[in-house]
Amino acid sequence: MPTLTRSFVKASLISLVLGLLAGIWQQIPGAAIAGLFPVYLHLLTFGWLTQLIFGIAIWMFPTYSKAHPRGPEWLGWGIFATLNVGLGLRVIFEPLQAISPSNFGGWMLVIAALLQWLAGLGFVANVWTRIRGR
Protein backbone atom coordinates (compact mmCIF):
# COMPACT_ATOMS: atom_id res chain seq x y z
CA MET A 1 0.00 0.00 0.00
CA PRO A 2 1.56 3.35 -1.01
CA THR A 3 2.47 5.96 1.62
CA LEU A 4 -0.23 8.33 0.37
CA THR A 5 -2.95 5.70 0.77
CA ARG A 6 -1.70 4.75 4.23
CA SER A 7 -1.91 8.42 5.21
CA PHE A 8 -5.47 8.70 3.87
CA VAL A 9 -6.60 5.52 5.62
CA LYS A 10 -5.01 6.41 8.97
CA ALA A 11 -6.43 9.95 8.83
CA SER A 12 -9.85 8.48 7.99
CA LEU A 13 -9.67 6.25 11.06
CA ILE A 14 -8.76 9.26 13.23
CA SER A 15 -11.79 11.10 11.79
CA LEU A 16 -13.98 8.10 12.58
CA VAL A 17 -12.86 8.11 16.21
CA LEU A 18 -13.27 11.90 16.50
CA GLY A 19 -16.71 11.66 14.88
CA LEU A 20 -17.81 8.99 17.32
CA LEU A 21 -16.47 11.03 20.24
CA ALA A 22 -18.40 14.07 18.96
CA GLY A 23 -21.50 11.88 18.85
CA ILE A 24 -20.96 10.82 22.46
CA TRP A 25 -20.28 14.40 23.57
CA GLN A 26 -23.59 15.58 22.10
CA GLN A 27 -25.48 13.05 24.20
CA ILE A 28 -23.98 14.09 27.53
CA PRO A 29 -26.69 16.12 29.33
CA GLY A 30 -25.75 19.78 29.44
CA ALA A 31 -22.58 19.35 27.38
CA ALA A 32 -24.05 19.72 23.87
CA ILE A 33 -22.51 22.58 21.87
CA ALA A 34 -24.24 24.40 19.03
CA GLY A 35 -22.44 23.68 15.78
CA LEU A 36 -21.21 20.27 16.92
CA PHE A 37 -23.88 18.29 15.05
CA PRO A 38 -22.69 19.29 11.54
CA VAL A 39 -19.11 18.63 12.68
CA TYR A 40 -20.18 15.14 13.81
CA LEU A 41 -21.88 14.46 10.45
CA HIS A 42 -18.94 15.71 8.39
CA LEU A 43 -16.32 13.86 10.43
CA LEU A 44 -18.18 10.67 9.56
CA THR A 45 -19.24 11.32 5.95
CA PHE A 46 -16.28 13.41 4.79
CA GLY A 47 -13.39 12.68 7.16
CA TRP A 48 -14.12 8.97 7.44
CA LEU A 49 -16.09 7.60 4.44
CA THR A 50 -14.99 10.00 1.71
CA GLN A 51 -11.37 10.09 2.85
CA LEU A 52 -11.21 6.29 3.01
CA ILE A 53 -12.64 6.10 -0.53
CA PHE A 54 -10.15 8.71 -1.79
CA GLY A 55 -7.21 6.77 -0.37
CA ILE A 56 -8.33 3.38 -1.66
CA ALA A 57 -9.43 4.69 -5.09
CA ILE A 58 -6.11 6.48 -5.68
CA TRP A 59 -4.42 3.18 -4.89
CA MET A 60 -6.71 0.66 -6.63
CA PHE A 61 -8.23 2.37 -9.68
CA PRO A 62 -6.68 1.60 -13.09
CA THR A 63 -3.26 3.21 -13.40
CA TYR A 64 -2.79 6.76 -14.66
CA SER A 65 0.46 6.08 -16.55
CA LYS A 66 3.50 3.83 -16.28
CA ALA A 67 5.61 6.67 -14.90
CA HIS A 68 2.91 7.87 -12.48
CA PRO A 69 0.56 4.92 -11.86
CA ARG A 70 -1.48 6.83 -9.26
CA GLY A 71 -1.43 10.22 -10.93
CA PRO A 72 0.86 13.14 -10.11
CA GLU A 73 2.30 12.72 -6.61
CA TRP A 74 1.83 16.41 -5.78
CA LEU A 75 -1.87 16.18 -6.64
CA GLY A 76 -2.41 13.22 -4.30
CA TRP A 77 -0.68 14.99 -1.41
CA GLY A 78 -2.51 18.21 -2.28
CA ILE A 79 -5.85 16.39 -1.94
CA PHE A 80 -4.74 14.94 1.40
CA ALA A 81 -3.60 18.31 2.74
CA THR A 82 -6.61 20.34 1.59
CA LEU A 83 -9.07 17.72 2.83
CA ASN A 84 -7.57 17.47 6.30
CA VAL A 85 -6.68 21.12 6.86
CA GLY A 86 -10.15 22.11 5.60
CA LEU A 87 -11.87 19.57 7.81
CA GLY A 88 -9.69 20.53 10.80
CA LEU A 89 -10.59 24.20 10.42
CA ARG A 90 -14.24 23.24 10.24
CA VAL A 91 -14.01 21.07 13.36
CA ILE A 92 -12.48 23.96 15.32
CA PHE A 93 -14.34 26.97 13.98
CA GLU A 94 -17.86 25.71 13.27
CA PRO A 95 -18.69 25.19 16.97
CA LEU A 96 -16.66 28.28 17.95
CA GLN A 97 -18.54 30.40 15.44
CA ALA A 98 -21.86 29.12 16.79
CA ILE A 99 -20.87 29.96 20.39
CA SER A 100 -18.98 33.20 19.87
CA PRO A 101 -19.11 34.56 16.31
CA SER A 102 -16.16 36.60 15.08
CA ASN A 103 -14.96 37.95 11.76
CA PHE A 104 -11.80 35.83 12.02
CA GLY A 105 -13.80 32.67 12.74
CA GLY A 106 -16.09 33.47 9.83
CA TRP A 107 -13.20 33.73 7.39
CA MET A 108 -11.73 30.50 8.75
CA LEU A 109 -14.99 28.78 7.80
CA VAL A 110 -14.77 30.28 4.32
CA ILE A 111 -11.21 28.93 4.00
CA ALA A 112 -12.38 25.54 5.35
CA ALA A 113 -15.14 25.45 2.70
CA LEU A 114 -12.70 26.36 -0.08
CA LEU A 115 -10.12 23.75 0.98
CA GLN A 116 -12.67 20.94 1.25
CA TRP A 117 -14.09 21.88 -2.15
CA LEU A 118 -10.58 21.86 -3.66
CA ALA A 119 -9.97 18.39 -2.19
CA GLY A 120 -13.06 17.13 -4.03
CA LEU A 121 -12.04 18.74 -7.32
CA GLY A 122 -8.50 17.40 -6.93
CA PHE A 123 -9.80 13.87 -6.45
CA VAL A 124 -12.00 14.14 -9.54
CA ALA A 125 -9.00 15.44 -11.53
CA ASN A 126 -6.89 12.52 -10.28
CA VAL A 127 -9.29 9.68 -11.08
CA TRP A 128 -11.39 10.91 -14.04
CA THR A 129 -9.02 9.65 -16.73
CA ARG A 130 -8.36 6.46 -14.76
CA ILE A 131 -12.00 5.36 -15.18
CA ARG A 132 -11.67 3.34 -18.33
CA GLY A 133 -12.03 -0.12 -19.81
CA ARG A 134 -9.08 -2.37 -20.49
Binding site: F93, L109, V110, G133, R134
Partner: protein, 141 residues
Protein backbone atom coordinates in the same frame (compact mmCIF):
# COMPACT_ATOMS: atom_id res chain seq x y z
CA UNK B 1 -13.59 -1.79 -15.79
CA UNK B 2 -17.01 -2.57 -17.38
CA UNK B 3 -18.94 0.11 -19.22
CA UNK B 4 -21.70 0.33 -16.61
CA UNK B 5 -19.18 0.80 -13.79
CA UNK B 6 -17.64 3.66 -15.75
CA UNK B 7 -21.09 5.24 -16.02
CA UNK B 8 -21.79 4.78 -12.29
CA UNK B 9 -18.39 6.09 -11.20
CA UNK B 10 -18.32 9.08 -13.56
CA UNK B 11 -21.86 10.00 -12.48
CA UNK B 12 -20.76 9.70 -8.83
CA UNK B 13 -17.87 12.09 -9.51
CA UNK B 14 -20.23 14.61 -11.10
CA UNK B 15 -22.44 14.41 -8.01
CA UNK B 16 -19.33 14.80 -5.86
CA UNK B 17 -18.54 18.09 -7.62
CA UNK B 18 -22.13 19.34 -7.30
CA UNK B 19 -22.57 18.14 -3.72
CA UNK B 20 -19.23 19.56 -2.56
CA UNK B 21 -19.95 22.88 -4.32
CA UNK B 22 -23.32 23.22 -2.58
CA UNK B 23 -21.78 22.18 0.76
CA UNK B 24 -18.92 24.67 0.38
CA UNK B 25 -21.38 27.48 -0.38
CA UNK B 26 -23.45 26.59 2.69
CA UNK B 27 -20.40 26.44 4.98
CA UNK B 28 -18.90 29.66 3.61
CA UNK B 29 -22.27 31.34 4.11
CA UNK B 30 -22.17 30.26 7.75
CA UNK B 31 -18.86 32.07 8.09
CA UNK B 32 -19.59 35.23 6.13
CA UNK B 33 -23.28 35.70 5.40
CA UNK B 34 -23.71 36.52 1.73
CA UNK B 35 -26.89 34.71 0.66
CA UNK B 36 -29.45 33.70 3.33
CA UNK B 37 -31.40 31.72 0.70
CA UNK B 38 -28.42 29.41 0.17
CA UNK B 39 -29.97 26.99 2.71
CA UNK B 40 -32.38 25.93 0.00
CA UNK B 41 -29.42 23.92 -1.37
CA UNK B 42 -29.17 21.76 1.76
CA UNK B 43 -31.53 18.92 0.62
CA UNK B 44 -29.72 18.72 -2.73
CA UNK B 45 -26.32 18.75 -0.95
CA UNK B 46 -27.35 15.79 1.22
CA UNK B 47 -28.93 13.91 -1.70
CA UNK B 48 -25.97 14.43 -4.02
CA UNK B 49 -23.34 13.45 -1.44
CA UNK B 50 -25.05 10.46 0.21
CA UNK B 51 -26.82 8.88 -2.77
CA UNK B 52 -25.22 10.52 -5.79
CA UNK B 53 -21.59 10.26 -4.67
CA UNK B 54 -21.13 7.66 -1.91
CA UNK B 55 -23.85 5.15 -2.80
CA UNK B 56 -23.46 5.34 -6.56
CA UNK B 57 -19.68 4.91 -6.27
CA UNK B 58 -20.31 1.78 -4.19
CA UNK B 59 -22.68 0.45 -6.87
CA UNK B 60 -20.17 1.08 -9.65
CA UNK B 61 -17.24 -0.50 -7.84
CA UNK B 62 -19.24 -3.50 -6.62
CA UNK B 63 -20.60 -4.13 -10.15
CA UNK B 64 -16.95 -4.14 -11.26
CA UNK B 65 -15.35 -6.31 -8.57
CA UNK B 66 -18.00 -8.74 -7.32
CA UNK B 67 -17.20 -12.35 -8.33
CA UNK B 68 -18.11 -13.17 -11.92
CA UNK B 69 -20.47 -15.94 -13.00
CA UNK B 70 -18.71 -17.34 -16.06
CA UNK B 71 -17.55 -16.39 -19.53
CA UNK B 72 -21.03 -16.14 -21.14
CA UNK B 73 -22.50 -13.47 -18.85
CA UNK B 74 -19.84 -12.71 -16.24
CA UNK B 75 -21.96 -10.10 -14.48
CA UNK B 76 -25.33 -11.83 -14.91
CA UNK B 77 -28.20 -10.10 -16.67
CA UNK B 78 -26.79 -6.58 -16.83
CA UNK B 79 -30.19 -5.06 -17.66
CA UNK B 80 -31.03 -5.08 -13.95
CA UNK B 81 -28.01 -2.94 -13.14
CA UNK B 82 -28.57 -0.63 -16.10
CA UNK B 83 -32.13 -0.14 -14.82
CA UNK B 84 -30.59 0.77 -11.44
CA UNK B 85 -28.42 3.43 -13.05
CA UNK B 86 -31.39 5.04 -14.79
CA UNK B 87 -33.87 4.78 -11.88
CA UNK B 88 -31.48 5.94 -9.15
CA UNK B 89 -30.31 8.94 -11.17
CA UNK B 90 -33.85 9.99 -12.06
CA UNK B 91 -34.67 9.59 -8.36
CA UNK B 92 -31.75 11.74 -7.21
CA UNK B 93 -32.52 14.49 -9.72
CA UNK B 94 -36.25 14.42 -8.93
CA UNK B 95 -35.52 14.71 -5.21
CA UNK B 96 -33.02 17.54 -5.72
CA UNK B 97 -35.44 19.48 -7.92
CA UNK B 98 -38.39 19.06 -5.56
CA UNK B 99 -37.91 22.44 -3.74
CA UNK B 100 -38.27 24.24 -7.07
CA UNK B 101 -41.09 22.23 -8.65
CA UNK B 102 -44.59 22.54 -7.30
CA UNK B 103 -45.55 18.88 -7.47
CA UNK B 104 -46.43 17.41 -4.05
CA UNK B 105 -45.75 13.80 -5.04
CA UNK B 106 -42.27 14.46 -6.46
CA UNK B 107 -40.30 13.44 -3.36
CA UNK B 108 -42.42 10.30 -2.98
CA UNK B 109 -41.82 9.50 -6.65
CA UNK B 110 -38.08 10.12 -6.19
CA UNK B 111 -37.85 7.79 -3.20
CA UNK B 112 -39.85 5.11 -5.04
CA UNK B 113 -37.56 5.33 -8.09
CA UNK B 114 -34.51 5.00 -5.85
CA UNK B 115 -35.95 2.07 -3.89
CA UNK B 116 -36.90 0.17 -7.05
CA UNK B 117 -33.48 0.99 -8.50
CA UNK B 118 -31.60 -0.43 -5.51
CA UNK B 119 -33.84 -3.51 -5.48
CA UNK B 120 -33.03 -4.03 -9.16
CA UNK B 121 -29.31 -3.91 -8.33
CA UNK B 122 -29.77 -6.49 -5.59
CA UNK B 123 -31.81 -8.71 -7.93
CA UNK B 124 -29.26 -8.45 -10.73
CA UNK B 125 -26.19 -9.12 -8.61
CA UNK B 126 -27.48 -11.40 -5.82
CA UNK B 127 -26.18 -14.56 -7.48
CA UNK B 128 -22.68 -13.04 -7.75
CA UNK B 129 -22.31 -13.16 -3.98
CA UNK B 130 -21.03 -16.67 -3.47
CA UNK B 131 -18.25 -18.31 -1.44
CA UNK B 132 -14.82 -19.08 -2.93
CA UNK B 133 -14.91 -22.05 -5.31
CA UNK B 134 -11.63 -23.45 -4.01
CA UNK B 135 -12.39 -23.94 -0.32
CA UNK B 136 -9.10 -25.71 0.40
CA UNK B 137 -6.89 -22.76 -0.56
CA UNK B 138 -5.54 -21.23 2.64
CA UNK B 139 -6.66 -17.67 3.27
CA UNK B 140 -9.69 -17.60 0.97
CA UNK B 141 -12.13 -18.05 3.81
Amino acid sequence: MPRLSRFFIRASLLYLVLGFTFGALILANKGILFAPLIWVLLPAHIEFVILGWLTQLALGVSFWILPRLGSQAPRGDERWSWATFVLVNFGILASALSPWINFPWLVLLARALQAVGFLAFAAGNWQRIYPPKFQNIKGLN
